[in-house]
């Protein structure tokens, strides 16, 4: 399981994952509630749902409203480590930062305290969709004629997108997950998100945007289990021109995986471990994790804190606490 959280990138992901996974590991020791459990090798986890089952390969189906059926768990590999890998415009694959934001981006190693995840903030649009490594539950898309809802286990975040292309909320209201409104252009779902708050990051490497960010996403299925996700970023404060990323979207390997509760605020002790060198307040980073923090926190709620997480260093090695 370690690889999964290492893949999440951020130093803090490890301990969040560890605490979240602790109950899941315990759950895996008993029989799943019902139905098929998760595939072998996933390291335990919640009982599968015995629910939807895999979506058969072939052309995508449509819901009763005539739109492509995207209901289910998906993966969008949008460049969690560094979004630049997915840039398709401009051709040099560089985010066209304005000077101030370029400087801000370059200072990221000294500003890790500003990483939203450390503060248990929702990850924003679009990067919340990529933080989906837990137990294969992925990015859950729920679609009705009126709404598309995106949910991830990470931070328990969600995004509710009305499909009536309504006007955006007043500009003075800024949200972590922005104000997304959507519509269908043929078989492509188009979502425009504004009212972003300028606190969230685009990836774990510290790529930024301002509160003037507008994201236009296009979700296009190519068959029942595959599609393409594209996003165009416009932000006159942070970027000199619009830029665009693209990534494949694929249905999750475990169609019956369920989202589990993600507690973060409840017991977050991480901020105190961040040193002045990364923008935090601690004089020095703790050397080792106090063992009591790594014990399973039954009844304690949330993560018990991550003790010796040296923010500037790599995630701790070794398996999650049992």
């Amino acid at each position: 399981m370690k690889n999964r959280f290492l893949a999440l990138g951020g130093a803090s992901a490890f301990f969040i994952a560890a605490i979240v996974l602790t109950p899941m590991i315990s759950a895996g020791q008993g029989e799943p509630p019902q139905g098929q459990g998760p595939p072998a090798g996933r390291g335990g986890g919640r009982g599968g749902a015995g629910g939807r089952g895999a979506v058969p390969a072939g052309p995508f189906t449509k819901l009763s409203d005539g739109h492509p059926d995207m209901n289910g768990a998906w993966s969008i590999r949008g460049g969690l480590a560094n979004i630049s890998t997915n840039i398709v415009e401009p051709a040099d694959k560089q985010i066209p930062y304005t000077p101030a934001y370029k400087q801000l981006r370059e200072e990221s190693p000294k500003r890790m305290y500003e990483e939203p995840e450390l503060h248990c903030y929702q990850s924003g649009v679009p990067s919340h969709m990529w933080r989906q490594g837990y137990n294969g539950a992925g990015l859950l898309i729920q679609q009705t004629p009126e709404y598309v809802v995106f949910m991830t286990e990470f931070m328990g975040s969600y995004r509710i997108v009305p499909l009536n292309n309504r006007p955006h909320i007043p500009e003075s209201i800024k949200l972590f997950m922005g104000d997304g409104v959507g519509h269908w252009e043929g078989d492509t779902l188009v979502i425009e998100t504004t009212n972003n708050n300028g606190i969230t990051w685009l990836d774990n490497d510290g790529d930024r945007h301002s509160d003037a960010l507008k994201v236009v996403e296009r979700f296009t299925l190519t068959d029942a289990n595959n599609g393409t996700w594209e996003a165009t970023f416009t932000d006159p404060k942070a970027y000199t021109q619009p830029w665009k990323v693209s990534a494949p979207m694929t249905r999750n390997a475990n169609p019956n995986a369920e989202l589990l509760e993600f507690a973060c605020v409840e017991g977050n002790q991480d901020k105190a471990t961040y040193t002045e060198a990364v923008g935090g307040k601690a004089k020095e980073a703790p050397i080792a994790a106090p063992s009591e923090f790594l014990a399973p926190q039954r009844g304690g709620g949330g993560r018990g804190g991550r003790g010796g997480n040296a923010p500037a260093g790599p995630p701790p090695a070794g398996p999650p606490p049992q």
Binding site: P23, M24, S26, A27, G30, E31, P33, Q34, G35, G47, A49, G50, G51, R52, L63, D65, N71, P99, A100, Y101, Q103, L104, E107, Y113, E114, L118, H119, Y121, Q142, Q143, T144, E146, Y147, V149, M151, G156, S157, Y158, I160, P162, N164, I169, L175, F176, M177, D179, I199, S210, D211, E258, L259, L260, E261, V265, E266, R298, G299, G300, G301, G302
Partner: protein, 267 residues
């Protein structure tokens, strides 16, 4: 053939039939509201809802105090409107109430638990698919996934959750849930009413008209209560044009929380 009896009896039969019909209509209780259906045939609870009760402040009858609207209480069983605490649990409730400024998980932005999330003074949105009913609260982006695809919970003592593990089914027009695997940390209201990790909740959501859900929750917890007890309250549909769930990211608004970065001076 003598037609006279037919001429007399036919009107008489019609009159009797009309009277019986009238008596039948007047005498019966109003027919239960039949909920509209989703495209897949489920009773349709989708929409944005919020209670107007003051259950969030105190489930029991309470007078007003600073910042707390009065309420007649939402406990419908037992009939006295009081939560049937065991003696030691009643002591703990009193301590919770006395220490609530520091002890109330709500003051720390923690998850509200079940059923508390339902009657928070924040709107919630219900979304339905064949797999699950999802409740999305504006308060701290809390969610509940009500799984329609399984009937049992995690083994006892394996998983403990703030908001519990919810499985659900439709019983005619009623959405029935069964919730367990709690961690016992959440409070039921701001007054210090509480449950332990042995809490087991069953909920019933029923539309009494197209814009009102009657919500009932029965709480069992042998560690805390002498008997199961039930709350009942109404959830009203938000009908403002283009109403949407906003954000109340409680932890992001405190004095020392992370704000937008100050931009560096360009070299």
């Amino acid at each position: 053939m003598n037609v006279r009896p037919l001429v007399v009896t036919l009107p008489a039969v019609l009159v009797v039939a009309l009277v019986l019909t009238w008596l039948s209509v007047m005498g019966q209780t109003p027919a239960a509201f039949r909920a509209q259906r989703t495209p897949t045939g489920q009773p349709n609870f989708q929409g944005i809802w919020q209670t107007m009760s003051s259950a969030h402040y105190d489930l029991e009858p309470h007078a007003a105090s600073l910042g707390v609207p009065a309420g007649v209480g939402v406990v419908v069983d037992p009939p006295d409107g009081k939560i049937p605490y065991k003696p030691e649990a009643l002591t703990k409730r009193s301590e919770n109430s006395k220490n609530r400024a520091a002890a109330d998980p709500f003051n720390k932005c923690y998850k509200p638990g079940t059923p508390h999330m339902i009657y928070l003074p924040f709107p919630l949105q219900i979304i339905q698919t064949p797999m699950q009913v999802t409740i999305l609260s504006e308060y701290m982006h809390n969610t509940r996934n009500l799984f329609l695809t399984r009937k049992s919970h995690y083994p006892p003592d394996s998983v403990d959750l703030w908001n519990g593990d919810s499985v659900a089914r439709f019983d005619g027009d009623v959405l029935v849930t069964d919730v367990a695997n709690f961690n016992g940390q959440a409070w039921l209201d701001r007054a210090g009413n509480f449950a332990s990790d042995q809490l087991h909740v069953t909920e019933r959501f029923q539309l009494i008209d197209n814009d009102t859900i009657r919500y009932e929750a029965t709480l069992e917890d042998p560690k805390t209560y002498t008997r199961p007890w039930t709350i009942r309250l109404l959830l009203y549909r938000h009908k403002e044009p283009n109403v949407r769930i906003m954000e109340y990211e409680c932890h992001a608004y405190s004095e020392d929380s992370l704000k937008e970065p100050a931009l560096p001076t360009v070299r």
